[in-house]
Amino acid sequence: MLTLESLVSLLPLIIVATTAVVVMLGVAWQRHHAGTAMVSAGGLVLALLSVPLAAGALTSPPLMTVDGLAIMGSVLVLLCALVTVALSHHYLTGYIGPREEFYLLLLCAVTGALGLVASDHLATLFISLELLSMPLYGMLAYSFRAERSLEAGIKYLVLSAAATAFLLFGMALIYARTGRMDLAGLAAGLAASPDAWTLAGAVLMVVGLGFKLSIVPFHLWTPDVYQGGPAPATIFLATVSKLAVFLVLLRLVMVAPIFDSEWLRTLFTLLALITMLGGNLLALFQPNLKRLLGYSSIAHFGYLLVAIVVGGQLAVEATGVYLITYLVTTLAAFGVVTQVSSPFGGEDAAGLHHYRGLFWRRPWLAAVMTVSFLSLAGIPLTAGFIGKFYVIALGVADARWWLVGSIVAGSAIGLFYYLRVMVTLYMPEPGMRRRDATEDWGSRVGGLTLMVVAVLILVIGVYPAPVIDWVVDLSAAL
């Protein structure tokens, strides 16, 4: 039953949805770019402030569960969305055409993500996932006059639809065996040893979710979509969408024992191995920064899959910490791309040559980029190292030597292209340059947010104890 108490626990989702409606009505009444951005940001902040209330609520609404994992997911989704909004404003000022709808789409997608991290039932899972993905098509194809953006949108749309079909089929198969759709029911119905049909269902679901996470055999869309989409849309895709989907996958594995079979574990191990190595190898000679970051995110989710393989309490903790470090790092890296490409002027400045000598023109921006790339490479004193440390610790504690070995190999390969980008920032400038961040980038909201994110990378890297404690508290209840 839906009680008032359970509505309180849904408060963040309700606030974000309401903001979306307000933004829509506002756009219909009068267009005002800065105002829209402010209202969206205000709504997200309000939702963030209501998270402690939601966490305090005792009952969860039907079909959903507001537990520690959901709270953690909600906070991270809202923070990433806020950063995206902050970065979008400057970017969109140069856009010819309607700018305000971007925030509307973003808020809808955030609503979907908030639902997804809390879903406890295959129906809510599916609806939230679609609510997250549908606006993303629009966001990716937002600058539809640029051919690549349109291509990105349509490519993501078509392949995502195919993935959805896999997901639905998998759910149907499992439903056919158990007759239940809530996760607890799945767990109860599948207590006996799984047969071929449930296994097939589970694998099909993994395919569907693996597409969204761009796990290796399902990764083909990633570079094109990352490259084509406008930078803020790509940020959103790389952070919020992947974060929410991964948390759902983790919840499935934790709750439903079907995913606990040794056979499926081997499959996950295999996927993790090829994802780590594949992502890193594909990125090696990539001259386009956005594509490179796309491949790098593939590799990072390969590392994260170790948590899915190992499972257990430490795995949840490791996932939480790794996701946080991944998010701040990715936000910073894409944030710099957004700044250099702001305000919008056709295609984004993604070629590596745009960044040559950035340090000598925009030292602080280059410093942010350096910090984020060091973090991606997992160098000590940055957040990325703490994440990598957790994943390696997880692999070692469970004696999964193959996975540990390929993390080491993957990191060594990864260094090559991360270093290549970093050293480019410090090379002497060439004579010509076409795109550059505006003079006042540092005093704008987006620039300031970016600085805060970069400082956060260093702070988490140097003193990770508070973040770890937070994650431990939230995952203990699971």
């Binding site: 340090f359 160098i379 390696i392 080491v408 260094l415 050293v423 404690d469």
Partner: protein, 510 residues
């Protein structure tokens, strides 16, 4: 607290240098120089005031210690401690850091502030390595000093030999060391989790982990994880691929740091961590390690003879000298381990001297190719004389520190491994050959081009003279160094004898 400052001062100085560039080009140089002198002075004062006698059973083995919790979830602490060995190496870092700043005074003409930021960050990281006792912290500093070194080579290096750009050399250096470092991280974590399953306590502390009872096949692999990480940095022969290129492409200051201090972190790591954590496995592994050391001695010396690039030649001689150190560390003799420490210090002086000299030559004739040198003795005043002295030191001439080191290494190793010593002595002959080749091709013979060149100024003269005085002083009277490190070398040597006793007793029981 003074230990924290030893690490922090270079980092703060580095940041200051970066920002000081706006006050002119000289400002970063003076700040960097003052920073490194400060570190040097602190460590010398500590040395003069320290008591380095063997600790009694109740006393701590550390001269100074500092610990606070850091990441309680994993029992990670910021645990710094200093004993005689760390003190000597920290002082060496301060000294060579000062020289590195001085020798790049004219060489580095652009982006001065950022250069000194990187230089000081390397030195800060190295000091951290020498002081960290928590394994997590040690690993952190170990990896952290790579990044600024990478930038140093990639941005200010020479694009010397054809087909080898400086960025490729830097990348190769970074990947070699980082990948092997990750192996060490895996080994550290495995050790920690074994300890956790034995006792239920998560800790990265050196003192706690030292007594861990690791099951047999795993212990060997973990020892290998540590060994490979240190072997890459030392470098031991199959893992040496990064060294000649990194040296050849690095700026002078980079080469001085690399040869003088960074290679020593590996030997330090072996003495401090690899041997005490896994004494039995290390004792069993000793024949292999000694063989690798021998291969390194011969291989480095032979390849040094065939080099055209003066800095590559010196780089290969480093491989050869580090072979002696490796043999000594695995000999299990106190005398040899002390010899290795002296040899480390001596090699730091002599290789730094030779690298600085080749940098000074480069500033004058703009080449490092020995085919286009020759006859420089008559063209440059004073510098060829210094070169002769350092070449003599490098080949282990009596009265230089290198002689004391090599002699003690060979003498100490002889009782346990006479064959190894006999073969290693061949390396001394080869050392004479490559040293004289260097001298002959650069300074003697017909003049390649006529015309006199500028002699050393006061800065260059001072650097050379200080290095030379130190080399000879240690060579004539090494006792202070030996007294300082005796307390470190003795327990390490004991580990080996205990381990072999155990093995022997196990044999008797069987």
């Amino acid at each position: 607290m003074i230990l924290v400052w030893l690490i922090l001062i270079p980092f703060l100085g580095g940041l200051l240098c970066w920002q000081a560039e706006r006050w002119g080009e000289q400002a970063p140089r003076w700040i960097a120089l003052a920073t490194m002198l400060f570190v040097l002075v602190i460590s010398v004062v500590l040395w003069l005031g320290g008591d380095f006698s063997l600790p009694g059973s109740y006393e701590s083995q550390w001269l100074l210690e500092w610990r606070v919790p850091w990441i309680p979830r994993f029992g990670i602490e910021i645990h710094l401690a200093m004993d005689g060995l760390s003190l000597i190496l920290v002082a060496l870092t301060g000294f060579l850091g000062t020289l590195a700043v001085l020798c790049s005074w004219h060489e580095i003409a652009h982006r001065v502030g950022f250069f000194h930021l990187n230089l000081l960050f390397i030195l800060g990281g190295v000091v951290g390595v020498f002081l960290a006792l928590d394994l997590f912290l040690f690993f952190l500093f170990w990896e952290m000093m790579l990044v600024p070194m990478y930038f140093l080579i990639a941005l200010w290096g020479h694009s010397g030999s054809p087909g080898q750009t400086r960025i490729r050399a830097a990348t190769r250096f970074f990947i070699y060391t980082q990948a092997s470092g990750l192996l060490m991280l895996v080994a550290i974590l495995a050790l920690v989790f074994v300890h956790y399953s034995n006792t239920g306590e998560l800790s990265f502390s050196y003192d706690v982990l030292r007594g861990t009872d690791v099951p047999e096949p795993l212990a060997f692999w973990l020892m290998l994880g540590f060994f490979i990480a240190f072997a890459v940095k030392l470098p031991v022969v199959p893992f040496h691929g990064w060294l000649p290129d990194a040296h050849a492409q690095a700026p002078t200051a980079g080469s001085v740091d690399l040869a003088g201090i960074l290679l020593k972190t590996a030997a330090y790591g072996m003495i401090r961590f690899a041997l005490p954590l896994f004494p039995e496995q290390s004792a069993a592994f000793a024949p292999v390690a000694m063989t690798l050391g021998l291969v390194g001695i011969i291989y480095g010396a032979v390849l040094a003879c065939g080099q055209q690039d003066i800095k590559r030649l010196i780089a290969y001689t480093s491989i050869s000298h580090m072979g002696f150190v490796l043999i000594a560390l695995y000999s299990g003799s106190e005398l040899a381990i002390q010899g290795a420490i002296i040899l480390m210090v001596a090699h730091a002086f002599s290789s730094a001297g030779l690298f600085i000299l080749s940098g000074q030559l480069y500033e004058r004739i703009h080449t490092r190719d020995m085919r286009t040198m020759g006859g420089l003795w008559s063209r440059i005043p004073v510098l060829p004389g210094f070169t002769l002295c350092f070449v003599a030191a490098s080949l282990g001439m009596p009265a230089t520190a290198n002689f004391v080191g090599e002699f003690m290494v060979l003498f100490g190793t002889f009782p346990s491994a006479p064959v190894v010593v006999v073969i290693a002595s061949v390396g001394l002959v080869l050392a004479a050959i490559y040293s004289l080749l260097l001298m002959q091709r650069v300074h003697y013979g017909p003049e390649y081009r006529p015309g006199p060149l500028k002699g050393p100024d006061a800065r260059e003269y001072g650097m050379m003279l200080t290095l030379l005085v130190l080399t000879i002083a240690v060579g004539l009277y090494p006792q202070p160094l030996l007294d300082t490190t005796a307390a470190v070398a003795a327990p390490v040597a004991e580990l080996f004898t205990d381990a072999s006793d155990l093995a022997a007793r196990a044999g008797e029981v069987n």
